[in-house]
Subunit: 207 residues, 2 copies
DNA sequence: GCCCCAGGTGAGCGGGCGCTTAGCGCGCGG
DNA sequence: CCGCGCGCTAAGCGCCCGCTCACCTGGGGC
């Protein structure tokens, strides 16, 4: 069920689309630094240092520090949307599709906690235009999950009081995994994914 | 069910214990600024300006900017623990106590979103000693919720696969309300509290 | 009426920030 | 074998940060 990109220890394999190599190394360094300290507490000197380059090298590949965050955020959200879309549009009953979506979404947040943390929690550091672009992707994520729940309700498989509110709660539960999950803690990403899939099926009253 | 302190519009009534008046105004200004921009993006000049004072005035009442965050975080966590403890140790069945705890905890996060945001999401900006102190309070919050769930399981009222994991998920769900709740959105704090109480009872398989 | 001092201000220090610029070295076409 | 341009660095600019300090002020005790 898990694929290499979301449980790989290095957590750097998802950035293959970023070229050239120096730009990718800077971006990976930025992800690590932002996740550890937060965007505003991270300096461009720190990012460049982690990538083994001088501070000025950053500005050959990126116009500003904010552009780095924007690129990270967009790629990350596209990956998240891809995960949900694949699960939502797959085969199976609504319950199976919802469990699959939650399971893989949670595994991505837990296994790629470093990336997910930046993607989910540093949104407010973006400027208005970039933030608006990212929020559009988030609304699409919301729509995919709501679609599964609506299917389940329509088929009589789910028992939900408030579809919109429950959708929000399900996504909220998954996203917050990036805040608390600890790689050296008692659970593996797979275990949390399985536990959460079960909890979400209960939340929607799956038969 | 709601009390004045957690749904009051001004959201400034919980800081009565902070004296003198100038110190309280600075602290409230800091809460607002930290919630809006985050700790690292907030300047001491901004905090002092919101309180109607000169930048230097801050240092008469607080040793550093970090001490402000520490005081806010400690008072906020004590309030959160108080809410959970009151609900956990009240009368009623485990289901009633769990619904009450989740309802009031969520109302606090939604109604006092400004405060809750700082309390729940700016923890990493604290130094090691202060963070350790706050983490101890968080473990007590965790213990209160776990206690209710264990009571329900022991009484045969709940059906839970993993008590520790479910406790974490319940708290995670409540805490994340501070991230997404919008005062001008479609729900009131009371409505979210009621919806979440229902969702959590489903998560623990309450009869 | 006078002093005192807690609580406040205005100005500014040292430093680190995001970002720029002048110039270096090296692989490659001619 | 030259020279040119791309990718990078060393140095540093201007700014604003957290924080300090010398000074001011107005209301209470004697």
């Amino acid at each position: 069920m898990s694929t290499a990109e979301d449980t790989a220890g290095g957590e750097t394999s998802a950035w293959g689309e970023v070229t050239p190599d120096a730009a990718r190394r800077l971006l990976i360094a930025a992800v690590e630094a932002f996740a550890e300290r937060g965007y505003h507490a991270t300096t461009t000197r720190d990012i460049a240092g982690r990538a083994g380059m001088s501070p000025a090298a950053l500005y050959i590949h990126y116009k500003t520090k904010e552009e780095l965050l924007h690129r990270i955020s967009r790629i990350g959200h596209e990956k998240a949307l891809d995960i949900l879309r694949t699960a939502a549009r797959g085969e199976g009953t609504p319950a199976e599709r919802l469990a699959g979506a939650v399971g893989s979404f949670v595994r991505w947040h837990a296994g790629g906690r470093t990336t997910a943390r930046v993607v989910q929690y540093e949104l407010d550091s973006l400027g208005p235009d970039a933030r608006a672009e990212i929020l559009a992707l988030r609304r699409q994520c919301d729509a995919e999950v709501r679609g599964i729940i609506e299917d389940g309700v329509a088929a009589g498989d789910f028992d939900v009081l408030d579809v919109k509110g429950t959708t929000l709660a399900v996504l909220s539960l998954c996203i917050d995994v990036a805040r608390w999950f600890n790689v050296s803690g008692p659970w593996t990403p797979d275990e949390v994914g399985a536990l959460y899939a079960d909890l979400v099926l209960r939340m929607v009253g799956a038969k």
